[in-house]
Symmetry: C2
Subunit: 241 residues, 2 copies
């Protein structure tokens, strides 16, 4: 399929958010460093952010495999935070401070190309996040960093977590589109593979420092995705806007 076929077929684009659109790691380190200085807490906030993110997939896995009932990501993040607080010796944090720190995931900045690239894409396509972040989290991020989404398609709406197929098929159903009219857009090959397996189109760009300077995964496209771009601005250019 050539790009001109794609630009006429694709009606909606859904975007992985953490890592693909927003730079969670730098944002968290910046936010908690400043907050720690102002509130008398000191820690290796980079290690803290990385450890927190490493607990993300295991925490969702319990929901995916049915060990626990549907639970939104804010709650999973909070449970992981409690473990981290002990590990990093931050037990003096008050409840209000824990709530504030947990909501750092609502205060993430976009990568530099995100707002510009998405604004161009929105002129022709329906654009929405498709993230495991809950609706409230994604709403807050969008307002915080200015992401111009047409609508908010958290997997919370479908009560599942990517890469469960219902995440992608739920989007097609709620938008009344065929899977081939919807493009999953991400910096993560596994997300795209799961989307392609149920018929969606795919677009990839790398975020080689998402996990810091020693990142080893998702540096390049591991499959022949429909679009491989350098970033969201380049992706917009390839999609004709």
């Amino acid at each position: 399929m050539t790009n001109s076929d794609l630009t006429s077929t694709v009606k909606a684009m859904v975007f992985d958010t953490f890592g693909s659109v927003v730079d969670w790691r730098s944002s968290i380190v910046r936010d908690l460093t400043r907050w720690g200085q102002e509130n008398g807490f000191s820690a290796d906030w980079t290690a803290f952010a990385d450890k927190w993110r490493s607990m993300y997939q295991p925490s969702m896995e319990q929901v995916r495999n049915g060990q626990r009932a549907w639970t939104i990501l804010d709650v999973l993040h909070r449970e992981s935070l409690e473990i981290l607080i002990t590990e990093f010796g931050l037990d003096a944090m008050t409840e209000a401070q824990r709530v504030h720190v947990n909501r750092v995931w609502h205060r993430l900045d976009g990568w530099p190309d995100a707002v510009g690239g998405l604004t161009r894409l929105k002129s022709k396509y329906i654009i929405a996040p498709l993230s495991n972040g809950n609706v409230s989290l994604l709403t807050d991020i969008a307002k915080y960093t200015g992401l111009p989404w047409d609508l908010n398609l958290s997997t919370e709406i479908f009560h599942c977590y990517k890469p469960q197929p219902q995440s992608y098929l739920g989007v097609c159903s709620i938008l009344q589109l065929e899977p081939s009219q919807v493009m999953m857009c991400a910096a993560h090959n596994d997300d795209l593979l799961a989307a392609r397996n149920v018929g969606l189109k795919t677009a990839f760009w790398p975020r080689p420092t998402e996990y810091g300077p020693s990142q080893t995964k998702n540096l390049v496209a591991t499959e022949q995705w429909d679009i491989v771009a350098t970033d969201i601005r380049d992706f917009a250019r390839q999609m004709g806007v």
Copy 2:
């Protein structure tokens, strides 16, 4: 509660859409008149629009009272359209034409104050439609007429229809807000009453020609709503933006 209390308490505003934000009647008459001329169908399109709208509440009532399973508004509109087509002698319409005509509900223009007023409100508050229109319908309207929603809160997400309480409480839950932090905004007193009954704040402005020049309902606020405005721009002014 004074306006300054309200402007600090309210975090999110949800808007009735048909009639309150978009002018469904004039939009449908304009759209179908032009379409009819181009496609050789003639009818009293004003009567057609009014009759279609009169079938709206009865069709949803079957879902509300459990007589039928959850069904989105596009499907209810289509069923009503089939009856209208016969009544108005338009049986020559092809299937593709029926699909196009049914989607006139996706092509509604905002009232003149809508985009300007909402844009101002968005600078301070989370803004979203809370409409019985399905997600795809609301997404299309927003792109068609340029409504700057932060997110799309169709009652489809909660599998119910306003004024069922779960419509309003579902919004509070998904946004992680208390009912008193959410304001229901509409040109319809009954919608506001149902929202206030479960604790939401309320804002009213009239749309005295929503149903045409001989409208008798919703010309004025019938209760002491938190805000009574002349239109969405005036509402924004009263809410400090």
